[in-house]
């Protein structure tokens, strides 16, 4: 029996998911919270982005349910914990080659000495152990890929349609042009495309290395999928760390002013004055030293990597709350002069309650906009920080680590391009979706953009 195992970041991920659900529940019952989301819901681009983001959230959550597999008989070492996603991706995870191989390759990338049947040793490109191993004749590869791909895509499409029919009957035939809900149609189509892609991937990835393999022979597709959780957690957990600081300090400084304000301002000017990367770097290196000295405290590599990830989120959060805090302080300063706050004071409402009932709800749109906007920046920052060795643990799957490992291999002839491309492309898709979604959210929540966009030229007559 596998034993469930809760890593700290799993806990954080599910907690975050819970918070999001709770917010969704509250928002659905309050008109003023629901109205801006409804505006987001009406934009096709935002909905496409939302579906893509949700798919990533799904991957993250699946990857956040860990268990300790039973040790195989006869092996001494305790096996590393696995997630449900690892379990689903078992063929990808275990299909490890010896070294690089190109996407859909049947042969290795480097020549190896192979012992022939007649006892001679020949330098040649070896057949891969897993990639296309089921093919007796390498010439069948093209036909096999086509056949399997078509089957997989069809299965994916079928599954997608079934899903739509079950969950969203109104959009069960999204390809029809006549549709009074273009945003919903776009979302349904995206869902279908994702299902087809998943089907395609599922059918091909079990037999080939769709994105090739890396230096130690790991499947690049598997790494890319596993990196989703890392990127997403950094993008969201960091903000979660930021929020309490920024919200409490910013709003309190703006409302109470005086000494509180002076202290908060001093605090954030001081923190902001330290170059962010330096602060992150210093903290990360210190953490490194700390972990090396207490090596034995970690039961496994994954626990260590996990802790490092959380620490990175905390550090990033501490260095990045100042901007939001400044915004919230300014907004609170404005709000405290507003008539409705004055009316509450005239009614004898106590200070903390005014903060809670009048100020907080009226700065939440800024918080939401900031959260969504920061996300993409943080995902990108992870890659950059990991590159200069102050990001996530080198043993953890992340796009930064993939890029880092693959960078030097571009110089080879022929270039090993797939690892880098896969990481870049996947990151691009996620960040693009996040940016587009953020745009729609900002437009819907920012009271200033509510009016029509002004034009540089006078309206035609």
């Amino acid at each position: 029996m596998p034993i469930p195992l809760l890593l700290l970041s799993d806990l954080a991920a599910w907690l975050l998911f819970g918070v999001a659900l709770a917010y969704a529940f509250t928002a659905s019952r309050r008109e003023h919270l629901r109205a801006p989301w409804r505006r987001v819901r009406q934009q096709p681009v935002a909905m496409v982005a939302a579906v893509i983001l949700l798919a990533h959230v799904g991957i993250t959550l699946l990857d956040s349910l860990h268990f300790a597999p039973q040790a195989a008989n006869g092996t001494e070492a305790e096996p590393e914990p696995l997630s449900v996603l690892d379990f689903v991706l078992t063929p990808l995870r275990t299909g490890v080659e010896t070294s690089y191989s190109a996407p859909f390759a049947l042969l290795g990338f480097d020549r190896e000495s192979v012992l022939q049947a007649d006892g001679r040793v020949v330098r040649e490109y070896p057949r891969l152990r897993y990639g296309g191993a089921h093919l007796r004749d390498p010439a069948q590869r093209g036909a096999d890929i086509l056949q399997r791909g078509a089957l997989g895509a069809a299965a994916g499409a079928l599954a997608g349609l079934l899903l739509l029919r079950l969950l969203w009957p109104a959009q069960c035939r999204p390809w029809r042009r006549r549709n009074d809900d273009p945003a919903g149609r776009a979302a349904a189509l995206t869902l279908l495309v994702l299902c087809v892609l998943a089907g395609l991937g599922g059918a091909l990835a079990t037999r080939y290395h769709v994105f090739g393999t890396d230096k130690v022979g790991m499947d690049v597709l598997y790494q890319s999928i596993k990196s989703v959780r890392t990127g997403l957690l950094i993008g969201t957990l960091t903000t979660l760390v930021t929020l309490p600081f920024a919200l409490v300090l910013g709003v309190a400084a703006g409302y109470y002013r005086g000494l509180v304000d002076d202290l908060v301002q001093y605090l954030y000017t001081t923190l902001a004055s330290i170059p962010g990367v330096l602060l992150v770097a210093a903290s990360a290196l210190l953490l490194d030293g700390l972990m090396t000295r207490h090596e034995d405290a970690f039961s496994s590599l994954i626990v260590r990597a996990d802790l490092r990830l959380l620490a990175l989120c905390v550090i990033l959060g501490i260095t990045s709350w100042t901007g939001l805090c400044r915004l919230l302080r300014a907004e609170a300063l404005k709000l405290r002069e507003s008539d409705f706050v004055r009316a509450a004071e005239a009614l004898g409402v106590r200070g903390p309650r005014i903060l809670w009932r009048h100020l907080l709800p009226n700065v939440m749109h800024i918080v939401i906009i900031a959260t969504v906007l920061d996300f993409s920046g943080l995902v990108l920052a992870e890659a950059a920080l990991t590159y200069i060795n102050i990001g996530v643990d080198p043993g953890m799957e992340s796009w930064g680590n993939m890029i880092n490992a693959a960078r030097m291999e571009l110089a080879r002839q022929p270039a090993v391009w797939w690892s880098l491309s896969a990481a870049m492309l996947w990151m691009f898709v996620l960040v693009l979706a996040a940016n587009l979604f953020a745009d729609a959210v900002r437009e819907a929540f920012d009271p200033r953009t509510r009016e029509a966009t002004p034009s540089a030229r006078p309206a035609g007559t």
Partner: protein, 325 residues
């Protein structure tokens, strides 16, 4: 006016002190001087005596914040923190833990950083302004839409991709510039081309979108309608009125960055092997050279505060409504 700036200068002192306390706390919380000595001395020369000697040489033999062995004020002053803070405020950064003169290093490495950072800033500003102005003019058209799409796409690409892609395309495929490296004098031109192009591209999408939003915000204001009612042509409205008003936030946003140009760009310099302050900092971090990191953090904070003051000054010049009191 003068009073204002003097007050801002004085206000910088507690901030810089705070920064110092923070860096000290961060480092000594987990890294004892013994650890640092071990790290710097390497495995072979590691004897207790050598460690003690190293600590005395680098001033780490004293307590960090509080010297209980002393009496009176010296409890505070005869400490590592007090000593190194006062030296920092005198811009005497001393010797790095590896034994090099930090002031000389900084002076030497500032040049290459500026050679990259200044063109990046200027070229970037010029490109972003031209593009955003053109697109604000065409707001609402199809071109505006596609420019927006392009900007979002450019923002969504990792900076690493720009660097790696640029090196691969411009240097390896087209042989337009060396992949990395640096030379002094005019020869540096060859080397700065690639980092400048890459850095400008990496930040262009975001700036264009921001500037465009600023232009459109100004376009929506009443004085623009008034300017049109005067019978001014579109071009005069745009350049005579909108541009000047939108330039205020743009310029002040740029001015705050100017002092920190000295510090260089960490990642760009590391990738292109440019011997500037950015790569200096990264090297120091990787070698855990606390003295250098401390100096760079101090310098960074100082330049940030200077940037804030410059921003105020630029507001004062650009916007007649602003009076500093």
């Amino acid at each position: 006016m003068m009073g204002y700036f003097v007050r801002r200068l004085l206000y910088a002192i507690p901030i810089l002190l705070g920064v110092n306390v923070l860096t000290f706390a961060l480092f000594f919380l987990v890294n004892t001087p013994d650890d640092m000595a071990r790290m710097q001395l390497g495995e072979r020369r590691l004897t207790p005596a050598a460690i003690e000697q190293w600590k005395v040489d680098h001033g780490y033999h004293r307590p960090v914040f509080w010297n209980a062995a002393q009496t009176g004020v010296t409890q505070l002053t005869d400490t590592l923190f007090f000593d190194s803070s006062t030296r920092l405020f005198r811009f005497d950064f001393g010797k790095s833990d590896a034994g090099r003169d930090i002031n000389a290093d900084i002076a030497e490495r500032m040049g290459p950083s500026l050679v990259i950072a200044v063109p990046v800033l200027l070229v970037g500003l010029a490109c972003a302004l031209t593009w955003s102005l053109a697109i604000a003019w065409l707001a609402g058209t199809r071109l505006d839409f596609w420019s927006g799409v392009l900007c979002v796409a450019m923002m969504s690409i990792s900076g690493l991709f720009y660097i790696i892609g640029g090196q691969w395309l411009l240097a390896k495929l087209w042989h337009l510039a060396p992949i990395s490296g640096y030379a002094d004098g005019l020869a540096s031109l060859r080397f700065i081309l690639l980092p400048v192009v890459v850095s400008v591209l990496a930040s262009l999408g975001g700036s264009v979108r921001w500037y465009r939003a600023l232009f459109l915000e100004e376009l929506g204001k009443d004085y623009v309608r008034m300017a049109r009612a005067k019978g001014l042509s579109d071009a005069r409205v745009m350049f005579g009125h909108v541009f000047r008003n939108a330039l205020i936030p743009i310029l002040t946003g740029v001015v705050v960055l100017i002092p920190s140009l000295f510090l260089g760009a960490l990642i760009t310099e590391a990738f292109f092997a440019i011997p500037g302050l950015g790569s200096y900092t990264i090297e120091a971090l990787q070698a855990q050279d606390f003295a250098v990191v401390r100096a760079m953090v101090f310098l960074g904070s100082l330049l940030y505060v200077a940037g804030l003051m410059l921003t105020d000054l630029s507001y004062l010049i650009a916007d007649p409504r602003v009076r500093l009191e």
